[in-house]
Symmetry: D5
Subunit: 145 residues, 10 copies
């Protein structure tokens, strides 16, 4: 079973179960953004977590096997134009060059790793409307020959 | 003077002055990511801040005038393949669909605004190598007819 | 069932029923452009409206379930070259820069929201040939850090 | 002088003059969206209006000549990703298929003309934040062999 | 049944029947280019013509229903590189700018309508090799605000 | 001097002279679509015609030399989205597959040549609005090994 | 049966039969490059040759029917990056402009026809390694109005 | 001086001199396709040939220096749509897959080298119209680990 | 059976068998990178190796037949954006021009063959973290007419 | 001075000086691939090395300043189609998926860093023709949350 097929089955089962991603992540003992990405097919899951997730969502072994397998990452460009995802793309086009400058200013020539890396998601109450707060946290890697 | 020409002059003057972006932002009284983005041409600067920045960097009035003008945003796609910026693009391709799911789970149908929005940049010491920490903080907007 | 599959079933059922979109929208108590977009898969429908639409069009529960689900928006670029849709794309290429100027002139730096937003569709009789009148009505959002 | 060079000179002169597009349009006796589009190079201006606009903005005859000349329309795709213009593109990707359906339902097979066509721009006060209101008004043309 | 599926069935049936497009068009009482385009899915056919065409080609009611339905026009770009079709694309790249100039010279600012429009196809005997003669005939539409 | 530079000078001189393309073509003794295409850079002109055109438009010898030189044809794709030219592109996407079918039906496997080829332009008065009439007339070439 | 499906069946049958393309071409009495191209779907085959090829490869009548039908030519761009085919594409990018110059020098303004055209394939023994020799042979067509 | 600038100067000088490419190639003692490609910038010329070519065309030392330098090959894609060059591209799309099959049939898995490679150009008289004859002759290279 | 289908079956069987690519390569007596590429469909396998691989992975004869067949190489561009593969693409964008310069400096005008070519893969222990070591080893081919 | 302008000046000066990249690298005490990449603008050089390189190549201080500055990496895609560079791109399309599999087999889920990374270039004599040997050597980074 392909990981995209497994992701579709996970999404349907989640709706049937009424569980939130936060609750599923909690049940399998994993950070919520990581767990959601893994269940959508962008990270291989350790066997025990895959088993636990499928139990929770009443999905069979073939799904668990797919969730454990190594992904070929790289999302469909069409997905990037969904308005909810596009706002992140737009933010990068506005702030990306500034972030590059600040990384070089503070750390020197190099990059923020997207591999030794985590993303956190939070909701912050605000009287003018609650806010989505997303944190990218990656190890700095300097160009080192 | 176009905003990209002004950005080139700002970058050269910054090197000559030896000032960091953080210091420049501090001197003009603006958040550092915003100030860097504005000096690179992605936000119009209030006249007083444009004046103060040009004074600090010993740039003339034509630069200040350009910094104050309204930008047409939208970065050159070639810029997006610079390795330091590309890591963010890659992170979105891996975690974008998960962030979309979490926004809908927590807030309902809608988006994180990229307009009523701020980005913070930080360095966090870590014994395994210091980390780049970037926070996106945007107001949730629900699809509201 | 995918939302595009549901849209195909809705379209066929509409032809069989002989109902107009305006009549369907009226029956489910929703604005006509919103209702049409939702039935074509670009908005999630509240359960009661999805149920009512499927009743009216004699479609089964699986369609209603699909209509209620969260879409990944973003239309196929091929669709944009259909002549009826392309005229809107062309109008944007001719008038888009002018609309940007007028928004900045009147409201300052920011955007017209496409989320806190509605579209109305009307026919206006005209002796030289009736006219299609479409109104975009979105909240102004200023760049606010 | 190319029309894009003329548009750059118009934009600078407008800032120096402190005039709004609405005021310029008023002075030359033309609808505001049309006048702005024409001054940005997307419509040829009648000689008298071109002359009056250049007088008002203190621009010389070469600009007026360029404003009168026939344009090759078709905006740079890069311009379409500016956030203020992109919201219109996004709205079309969400509502375009619905507008096509409604046009066919109401008028039959055909299009809304983008040539026998006008666009109006308005600001509507709203206690929750003022709104941008844009109206597309085009003659219906049926496929007629 | 999709219109492309119907087009495939029409094409096969035409080969079996040994009828030419000209003969089919004649039988259903429609101009030959229009009839061919409609049978290939680019125009909705009136019910009587769809019925007559299916009778002639011994195709069932599902095909007729598809032929009557409203198309989403816009041909696959791959089709445009077929050598027989590509010669038209090449002719446009060589003569398109000249045709634009001549339209503006003769009619003023505007377009030749592709909606209030017909195409005729003819063969003209010629001692040096017979010629394909194709006529585009569209109403001029001026930019009229 | 490049052919695009020469085309720009021709266009300006034509405006100054007040001559129409039809008149220029007449003066140099060439069909009007061919002459316009050649003056815009898509055909090399015979020396005598180039000389005569430059005399008429009061352009110097360097222009004539450029007009005589061999072009590299192939128009900028951006030009193809100009609304006046785009209508031809759209007509091909709607009728191209039908024209291919008709060519094969009438002549067999082969193409209409775009080299042994002419284009005529005409205006036909019509009480419902005058019409643009364009004729493509090319020799049929069969696939012949 | 589509021509690509027929091409797949031909390719499998050829492997089973152990026949070379040269031998198949010989048996059906056609030049080898033409025969291979036709069997892969890029030329319609005369009925007798299609019948003979299917007999030889033990394929049924549906394949023969597909081989006889009119193709829509135009290969998948992905195919062009296969290394064996890509070397021809690269050769064109290196020598294409020179071939254009030589054609114009020798023949005047025009093209080598790709329709009244043949391709031959040969192997030439060479002590440093045998060589692939491919000849393109097409009628010159001058731009003739 | 860039190689494209040198190519432009060579082309102008050739027109002034009235020499054909064949004659220039002859004078510098090189095959005509190679010489034309080298003078257009796609091969570095040995110093003596560069000197001789510049002498012949009355071009100065800076051109000769540029002709001797190492090129970055890879022609502008826009050039590929010139009709004279495009016919070769089209021939590849029609016959490329057949040539791949024939190479594998005759030689096994591998390619025709585009480096150990030559191209010859010839004109063959023919009562039905003279023909362009182009030969690609490259060493076969087998995939050899 | 297509080679991509065979590759999917190989990948699943490998997981079931618990064998590493290195072990499979060893068993069939082939270099590990070559063997992995061949099993994924990018090289035809000699019959004995295909048979042995299928025996080892408990796959049937149809897979072996597919593994022996001639591939059309050229990977899906989407695959190139997988982060593990993308790092190689990025390395080429940073070091490609330098490698070109060094090849020309050391060997003259020509290329490193990708056909008479091998790739080796190794792991090198390192106290700061083990390293991936990949060697490209190709015959130099000079441009030789 | 932009880094691409500096690279052009370095390339010309290298030709004038008759020095090889290996010699220049040796003189400035840096690995040869790194040094070449840095002089072509893809790495910032330490001040002392930039000074030494400019002294050696008789270039002035403005070049040294440019060589020291932080690059925006990301090579022009056109460069990637130069035949010498393209062979690496092709090798990745043939062997990239195999290298991904081998990395995951040997190291688990993660990547070879392109930042903590070096490339070596070598020439290996071989009686069948000398070989280009290029080694990519990068730290393995595992996906670590």
């Amino acid at each position: 079973m392909s990981k995209s097929e497994a992701a579709r089955l996970v999404a349907s089962a989640k709706v049937r179960s009424g569980l939130s991603w936060a609750r599923i992540a909690d049940e399998i003992g994993a950070p919520v953004v990581w767990a959601t990405a893994a269940l959508l097919g962008n990270h291989p899951m350790p066997p025990e977590q895959a088993r636990r997730a499928c139990e929770l969502l009443e999905l069979d072994e073939a799904v668990a096997e797919s969730l454990r397998s190594q992904p070929s990452r790289g999302t469909d460009p069409a997905v990037m134009s969904d308005p909810t995802i596009y706002r992140f793309v737009e933010a990068l086009s506005v702030y990306g060059p500034a972030l590059k400058e600040l990384i070089h200013d503070e750390f020197g020539d190099g990059i923020m790793s997207a591999i030794n890396f985590r993303v956190d998601f939070d909701r912050r109450p605000d009287p003018d409307g609650d806010r989505v707060v997303i944190t990218f946290d990656g190890k700095f890697l300097d160009y080192r020959w």
